[in-house]
Amino acid sequence: MSQPFRLNKEGLINRNKKISFIFNGKKLFGYEGDTIASALIANGIHLVGRSFKYHRPRGFFGAGVEEPNAKLQVEFNGHSEPNVNATEMELVEGLSATSQNCWPSVNFDIGAINNFLKMFFPAGFYYKTFMWPKSFWYKIYEPFIRKAAGLGVASIEKDKERYEHKFEYCDLLVTGSGPSGLASAYAAAKNGAKVILAEDKPRFGGTLLTDDVSIDNLSGKDWAEKIISELKSMPNVTVKNRSQVFGYYDHNMLVMFERVSDHLEKKSKFTPRQRLWYIRAKETILSTGSIERPIVFGNNDTPGIFLSAAAKEYMKVYGVLVGKKPLIFTNNDSAYETALEFKKNNVEPIILDTREEHSSELIDEAKSKGIDIRFSHGVIVANGYKKVKSAKIGKLNKDKNSFEKIETVDCDCICVSGFWTPSVHLASQSGNKLKYEEKIDAFIPNKKKQHETSVGAANGSFTLEESLKNGFENGSNLSAKITDTKTEIAIPNVNEKKYGAHDKFWCMPLPKNENPKRFVDFQNDVSVSDIEIALREGYRSIEHVKRYTTLGMATDQGRTSNLNGLQLVSNIENKIVPEVGHTTFRPPFTPITIGTIVGREVGMEYMPTRKTPMHEWHEKNNAVFVDAGAWKRPRYYKQGNETLFEASKREAKNVRENVGICDVTTLGKIDIKGPDAAEFLNRVYTNAWMKLPIGKARYGLMLREDGIVMDDGTTTRISENHYHMTTTTAQAANVLSHLEYYLQIVWPELNVNVVSTTEQWAGAAIAGPKSRDMLSKLYPDLDVSNDALPFMGYKEADFFGVPSRIFRISFSGELAYEINVKSDHGMFMWEKMMELGKEFGNQPYGTEALSTLRIEMGHVAGPELDGRTIPSDVSLNGLVSKKKDFIGKNSLGREAFNVESRQKIVGLIPIDRKSSIPEGSHIVQDQNAKLPNPKLGHVSSSCWSVENNNPFSLAIMKDGKNMIGKKFFAVSPLKNKSIEVEVISSHYVDPEGKRVRS
């Protein structure tokens, strides 16, 4: 149970709580506060995965988001997740992690043969090799690529976890709790601003946790703790750890990914796993810090090679040594701090510094501690396959392009530092035009487009003093503009080591006749030679080089590779880096789970469900539902083993022969009130409305301004200035917006108000020859005779103690009524109808039977009013007034709308009177004609006519009216059917409309 690389005392982990976990089948343990990475390194395990293309052994490289290699398949809390970053995932009891992209095991990976065949895998390999034949893609190439180049495996199990979304507003959002972030948040909080401070890691403080500094005589860590606890006590401040702000969108909307409970062993049922925050911030402080970049050298991807700051973080935060014989390879002073930390823990490092011998505060300290420093030196190539064993190092000549001396030294780890790259991702996402800062060989934010300000290392300020000053000033000034309060804060005294200048050196030359792989991008296996090939083949734009080589395109977004890639391109092209430019940064900054994006919108919560007040009754009576927008409507009521076809036929037939009731609550209903209501309707509808008497309904047709039919429905005059409009279920919302548009913008002089009342009324249609008999039972005291309540009549009456509205309107083409009661009484009404309708043979009918009834009557609906038809196309020109003006009227005169051969609605029946015609079929003259076969029209709606007992369809057909009596083919390539049909009138049943008036 010993952990050979764990230090005795150092670190911020909780040594009182051991946590056991499994890695590649082996049981290990770590401590509370460990990441998977720190626990594995403590156990001396470095080989964690195989690389993407060449299946080379890979170990840990970083200690946080910058990690390119250590992506694991992790099982915990009952789910399996791929591509988990081992340097970020906290250890929890029972967690089990396995290496990815290796088969049969990480120690022996067959794919590693790619490494020996590397001449076959140059840049653009996939583009070049898998070009042709096309038929090979599906069966041979794609499976091969997927198998060879996969990362982890996505689970196919249902995700049982809970994810949440949260919307938040603040004055100032601070992204990152390093020194500049803490200072900004503190200053803004003191000014009374509403502040959110977000920290990606579990611990607050950023570099203050690892740097050897003091602030106001407190250690960096203690000062961070003091500020955080003060911020937490302030009511205007929200402090969040384990929270990554990953996207910067329009109008200062930032999105944050919070890992709420992945680190918890036990949690309550309702604790979400992760939470997505949408934060609208008036101002944003980007204190995202910087990421160390590597120096490129031979076999620089061998396990045991770390970023120097990561090695220091493992010691100071986790009490873990990444090795006991370290080589420190640097071009700057910051790596000396890592060396000193090793030394403090009784490990003897060797420093290889690419700079010539010189002096600085840190160099002098290292010297005085007796550390072996070799100036003008660097690592040429790392030796060792699954772990670094030694390194060939060289003394560079003055021009740093060849070696004066080469030797091999033993080592078990190499800690490399090629200086620092500000994390400008969020600034760039916000639209900030970055500029190249010569002094630090990196891009920094420059011209802002949104309300964001980068501070500290993210802005290229690498000293603590500058970062704090920067933070306090910006936090104070930005918040003071919002709160109008300015609290003076004394900038604390800082004690830090002064760094000397860094060396602009980023890539080691190779000795003659040696050609080890030198990687620029670890995660996508992009080496120096790959980029050289891309340029040799003519790729110039950095965006093209990126796509051809896949440089920086992996899940780590090239955090450690971008600048070295740019350096390489600019060297070869003989340009300077700013001329090459940088590639676009896009959200998310780090990978986030799909579950978090989806949040609670899964299953029943995927979208709102609208249920009518009679829904429960439908459910109890075996209704099979169909979605109509968000509404659930009964499609048919299943009896025994009935199919949809059988049930809808039975229901429709019963309406034609007896009587049936249908839930029509979902129809859109709009209340229209005001002295100018009639004038308004007269402009909105194509037909005349000025003379509609009180207590009468009228069918109306509405157009868009381009003359296309928008919607149809009936409108009833309830009283002098009060109308009740109905719309189709699908168009209800659009029609309301349409009416509001004209009332608010075009004709504000009309004194009319409109409001949706769809939810206020429950509606039921009673249809069939026996509907009047049934109605008289429902209203025993009311005269419902044809004279008292004629077609298109309207009455208000008491329905067993409940106020109700009776409309004599019909969609089915039968004698029919529609009853509306307040929603709360809907179920009462429905049950009463079922009870009293029994003696007339009443049965409920669903939307399928409803369709059958309207199709064989030739009544148009959505499939005919499809946004392409004008009134005359669908035989509704009788409703178009010639006398008055209305919306869309001027468009009806367009030439194309008036040509003789214009499309028209017709009916179709199959010649064999048996074959159903699939909806969407094309109508053609000759089913065997050469393609493209001229299309004469399309089938819009199909049914089984219960009246005539054979299939019947509606179609929109070129010159339709002149085609009646002719024969064509209705062809559906989708259903692989071709049916010979005869064109007939679209009014298949009761063409004179006698029944509705009977």
């Binding site: 919307f167 969108y249 329009d250 109008h251 200062n252 909307m253 949408y278 609208r280 639209g431 487009k449 402009r683 301004e705 381009d706 919302a733 917006s737 509001e740 548009y741 608010q744 913008i745 075009v746 004709w747 504000p748 008055k884 003006d885 001027n890 468009s891 005169g893």
Partner: protein, 89 residues
């Protein structure tokens, strides 16, 4: 997601609004003769400027008022919002 200031309700998220096109288009008067050229211009012809654009939005999940928004189509910057009865210049 844009942040739009409804002149009636204040700053609200874009998802509460629906877009309604160019606000400078004026419908020919009802019951008045209009040339087919003017009518076609009203129905079909729209500018697609890169830059400042005065457009209509409706606060559908709020007060249901149609409003005017002056927005930069390239940067999404919103310069001004107003009631439809007010002028944006």
């Amino acid at each position: 997601m844009l942040y739009i200031k409804c002149p009636y309700c204040g700053l609200r998220a874009q998802k509460e609004f629906s877009y309604g096109g160019d606000a400078t288009v004026k419908r020919p008067n009802i019951n008045e003769e209009v040339s087919s050229e003017d009518w076609d211009n009203f129905v079909y012809m729209r500018k697609s400027p890169r830059g400042k654009h005065i457009e209509l939005w409706q606060h559908i999940a709020g007060c249901r008022q149609w409003i005017k928004v002056q927005r930069d189509t390239a940067t999404h910057e919103i310069f001004q919002t107003a009631k439809v009865t007010e002028e944006i210049r």
